[in-house]
């Protein structure tokens, strides 16, 4: 996860608290979605950014997950996410994001 994005998440968590904060991912593959999910839950696994050693434990979802899709306007979702829904390995992405969201770290 980009160091600037990590810094932004960290700053928001520090200034506004983590109550009510959800991280929504849009990565097109399971590997990078998993890395991002791990970063905002357990901390930066690469130990390179501001979230290294900072286990924020934020609820993290991927835009392809059904509970997210259900909350969005259908036409807008199709326009922006439809192509990824068709081309990405949806099950694998959801599995890894859920693993870090629900993990017991």
């Amino acid at each position: 996860m980009d160091l600037e994005d990590q810094a932004n998440v960290n700053r928001l968590a520090e200034t506004s608290g983590t109550d009510g904060m959800v991280v929504l991912l849009g990565q097109p593959d399971a590997n990078s979605a998993g890395l991002f999910a791990e970063t905002v839950t357990r901390g930066d696994p690469t130990w390179a950014g501001p979230l290294a050693g900072v286990p924020l434990g934020l609820p993290v979802y991927h835009v392809l997950e059904p509970e997210i899709k259900a909350q969005m306007d259908g036409d807008l979702y199709d326009e922006h996410v439809g192509l990824m829904e068709l081309s990405a390995d949806v099950d694998e992405i959801i599995k890894w994001v859920a693993f870090y969201r629900e993990g017991d770290s």
């Binding site: 593959d29 990078s32 390179a48 326009e79 192509l83």
Partner: protein, 476 residues
Amino acid sequence: MIPQPAVLHTSYALAHAPGLVRYGSKPVREAEGDPSLPARLDGALRPWGEVMAYPPNQVFIGNLAPDGLSSIPRPWYENRMEAARPDGPFGRMVTQAALYGLMKLCDDFDLLAIDERLAEQARAELTGFGHRRGRIGGAAADRIEALIEEGGGLPLYHEGRAAGFIRTAHRQDDSLTARVLLENLAAKATAALAVSDLLERSGLAAERVDYLINCGEEAVGDRYQRGGGSLSKAVGEVAGCVNATGSDVKAFCAAPVHALLAAGAMVASGLYEHVVVLGGGSQAKLGMKFGAHLRSGAPVMEDCLASMAFLVGPGEGGGDGMRIRLDLAGKHPIGAGSSARAVYEALVVEPLERAGLGMTDIDRYAVELHNPEITVPGGSGDVPRTNYRTLAAMAVLRGEIQKEDMDRFTAERGMPGFAPTQGHIPAGVPYLGHAQRAMRLGELERAMVVAKGSLFLGRMTQLVDGVSFVVEPAGP
């Protein structure tokens, strides 16, 4: 008659640059908080023999087709090519000594000093090339030591020693620091290698080049005009293009496709007969993903400066050029929106529909061809695979293929990534050499090159950009 513009020849080069990895933007930043980093980096760099035989590099210079790479098991760095060679049908690889020598030959302001031992090695490796610009001069080793001691520049490392020095040209100008000049000189030198090879391979006399377009991303200038340019003319001078002038096209990673379209339009309009499009290596991007490579136990693979050059001219000459179908050029307009669907509608579907063609009328798509072995460990994913899956999904949505045919669409019309992660370099165009060979063999009828650029990185707009074109055999 309006000339039909064609890509007549292609040229690619890789310069091994392990000594410059520590001066990549990312390693420099990380080393500020970790002084032990340069030594750890050096320990994870590959020797020349491994870099030369690395399968993606052999694809880049044409010794292995992209399809051949698909059948080599990953990790590719552990499955080196037995029959690897540093020279290929449309490209070559050079050692770091040759790179420093080229930089010295391109150094018009005495910015760079290399020691005599390195200069001798460079002269031996650049026989032929060096004659065009005189002898590669070396300095006494104690002179290099003295320069490093004085400061005001950067020591340059080679085979475990400080073998050179590049100086800052103006102490109060951030655009003329040793670090910036190193980037620019590396871009110039590697581009000059690609252009010289291009002309040699094509048989076109350098004097017959009318215009040069540089599509690299380096900002050449001083503090009053940081990105002033024109590196194109500086490179043309080295290559002996005495009758040419030139300019730079800047559009992030999409620039090579913009530049080839501009070159094609120049030829089609009759303004110029022979236009060279060139791009040098991005020194700032060396070692960009080194952290992920170190953590995963892989070698640091961003260790080469890549460069390329294309000769665009009239396709009616009877050669085996690839006609640039200017009537099928695609662009991502400002008002198009930046969703994946909007981008691919604009770049792929719209130009094809204009000619009554569908997505399956393109035999091969060349998208950003980043080597996935470099990008995946850092979380950036397999860029070409994601793009091909997206194109396949577009074809499904358009009813051209069934959902179960997506894998086949991707395998048949795509290819694995094999290009170094140097911005403009992977922009689809590394496939052009392979496309030309496949067309010559009658294996390919029509290919589309699609490039995208992340304009938002410059913080002046949230927009992305993209352009595309189609090539076909030029015919008699």
